[in-house]
């Protein structure tokens, strides 16, 4: 309960205002050099939460366009893989998963809906909960729906490698990797990005050096940032400063957590448990080398190999939903005609409105700057 006290300085309004002032000054100077827009992308749902919750867009000069990129792991799990989980749960195998995943619709329904129709679904806070549930009920069969980015994969990988997963628990693995999707965002050339705020938690695993390609290949600054409002403001300031100097740099602002090389133990477990393969991203398509699957030697843990899961053709995107565009930062929630009309937190239509890390859900809950512009 003392964590808040430690973080107190990160909420100091006078610091935040001072940095915001510096940002305004630098932006003005950059404008004089002929720059009209500074588009900065972040790639983490928690960053979007901080930015929207603290109204940071409102604090920035008009010319800074802060956009949310692919930062919601639950939003990008293809409908097909959710359908697989639903099928298993309807066949009497209990699916254990995170609360966010529970509510995301597959082709026609979510695990939550399937549960109301009698399917077996349980919510867990982490993989350890799943192991404990399986150990306590040795006669039941469980499947852990393993979704997430680099942050959640190492825990599961360590148990896979150490052989500590009970026999009645297998894994439906749907992990996705952030670096390849950010590379894909650049390859699409839809954005004229002037800077990137790299995800703090993911970088704790991958290391800050994972983002070096942004500086080297694309010639723009990238700042690994933490999640308090001051972290984000400081990251923006450093990006502007780097632009001003004309020397793009990789900066690790979150050095209290992130090392250049990352968490080597976690990376080793991942490498030992999983193969890196091409992966489907919901509504986006196949991204090379962007997913992890269990290595063949762990096939006895792979729910797709243990059970014969037959599902009809799946559909990722419901008509009119702009979730894929929102995930790629090519649309903002208010661009979508369904946002807060046919798609609301009470009655979500697309995955970005479901997960607490989804941009649409965050904007729906916390309004953001858009309503104040009208």
């Amino acid at each position: 309960m003392n964590a808040r006290k430690i973080l107190q300085p990160f909420y100091r309004k006078e610091y935040a205002k001072a940095i915001a002032k510096k940002i305004h000054k630098l932006a003005k100077e950059l404008k004089q050099t002929g720059l009209d827009e500074i588009k900065i992308m972040h790639v983490c749902g928690t960053h979007e939460h901080t930015i929207t919750y603290y109204g940071i867009r409102y604090q920035l000069p008009e010319m800074i366009n802060l956009i949310a990129g692919p930062g919601c792991p639950v939003c990008v799990v293809p409908a097909r893989e959710i359908d697989e989980a639903i099928k298993l749960s309807e066949d009497g195998i209990e699916i254990l998963t995170y609360g966010d995943m529970y509510k995301v619709p597959g082709t026609s329904k979510s695990l939550a809906k399937a549960k109301t129709e009698g399917a077996k679904v349980g919510i867990v806070y982490g993989f350890l909960d799943a192991i404990n549930i399986a150990l306590k009920n040795p006669n039941n069969k469980y499947v852990f729906f393993a979704v997430g980015f680099e942050t959640t994969a190492p825990t599961v990988a360590s148990h896979v490698v150490k052989g500590t997963i009970p026999e009645n628990l297998s894994l439906l693995v749907s992990y996705r990797i952030t670096v390849p999707i950010v590379k894909y965002v650049f390859a699409r050339k839809k954005h004229n990005l002037k800077g990137v705020i790299a995800p703090g938690h993911v970088s704790a695993i991958t290391g800050s050096l994972a983002w070096k390609f942004i500086e080297e290949k694309h010639g723009i600054p990238v700042v690994v940032a933490g999640f308090e409002p001051l972290d984000v403001l400081y990251a923006i300031y450093k990006i502007l400063e780097s632009l001003k100097k004309g020397t793009p740099q990789l900066i690790n602002e979150y050095s209290r957590v992130v090392k250049p090389e990352g968490n080597l133990i976690a990376k080793r477990y991942i490498a030992e448990a999983f193969d890196t393969v091409d992966g489907a991203w919901r509504g986006i398509g196949i991204i090379p080398k962007s997913a992890w699957i269990l290595k063949d030697k762990f096939r006895q843990l792979d729910a797709r190999k243990v059970y014969d899961i037959k599902i009809p053709k799946s559909v990722d995107t419901r008509p009119g939903c702009l979730c894929a565009e929102v995930v790629l930062g090519e649309a903002i929630p208010t661009d979508c005609p369904l946002f807060m009309t046919a798609c609301t937190p009470e009655n979500p239509y697309g995955p970005c409105m479901v997960s607490s890390e989804g941009t649409c859900s965050i904007w729906a809950r916390y309004g953001g700057r858009e309503p104040l512009k009208k």
Partner: protein
Amino acid sequence: MKYEKIFLAHGTGGRETEELIKNLIIPGFTIKNVPNGVGLTQLDDSGAIPVGDSEYIITSIDSYTVDPIFFPGGNIGTLAASGSINDVAVMGAKPIAVMDSIVVEEGFPIQDLKRIIASMNEVFEYEHVAVLGGDFKVMPKGKLDKIIITTNVIGTINKNRKPILDSGIKPSDKIIISGTIAEHGATILALQSGIEALSEGLMSDCQPITKAMEVAMNTTTVHAAKDPTRGGLAQALNEFAEKSNLMIKIYEEEIPIREEVKALVEMLGVDPLFLASEGRVILAVSEEDAEKTVKQLRKNGFPEAAIIGEAVAEKPGFVVIETLSGGLRVINRPFGEIVPRIC
């Protein structure tokens, strides 16, 4: 109506509750007011009936259902007694009498009922509110979750005063809160999440707000008052903004909130502005009298009373907050199941 069935979210006091009331309940009744009174259409905290030349009878009814029924700081009885007293008090009335209705599930322990009645009595005795009568019923086991208590409190407004309505706020008015926020909501949320509320230093703030109202009314003309219960500060301020047709701007750093509550909401990812208080009142008073009112409140038993914001003429209907980082955010009405069954 966009729903075919009632969901739990319809009962949390947020957006869905309001939709249901506006679309189904209000149009469902024909006579909604007595001449010159306050009635269903105004959706204020209580109804008002003018008696004689310039006196009013104020009346409010609420059903209380909370899980768990006993919690640090009180129980369902404290809640049922204080809650309806508060709805009458925020209209500027003095509560004088109550009628109650208690429905319990078959098998409910007599000892628990005794404790609940004692808690209700403690509040009524302290507030000099007479229990005129009531109703008691039992439902078969499994047909009700333990107990529901309904209370109807009646109060009076003396000559030369009018009921205080949410619509009474004026531009440049200051918004004052009588104490720290979200304590009842946080306590119940902790208990429902399997967290030992008491050992985490959490306790419901459940209590009558009559004293705070009295202090404020003796100091200044209160333009509007409300107890931020279900839906918390977010819901109460949105009602202020909508009914007064003004924008309410508040400052995050000015909102009194205990560290224990902050720690809990951060851990659970819940917005404290959405969590209920059951013993706090928010007041709108003139700019000139605001400091004086806070000073009087602090002197008279409300040490955490604070000015948290103001009413502004631009952007009517909006509630915005200047955040801890100096940014600005719109505060929407809460929606969905924030905390099921807290009051």
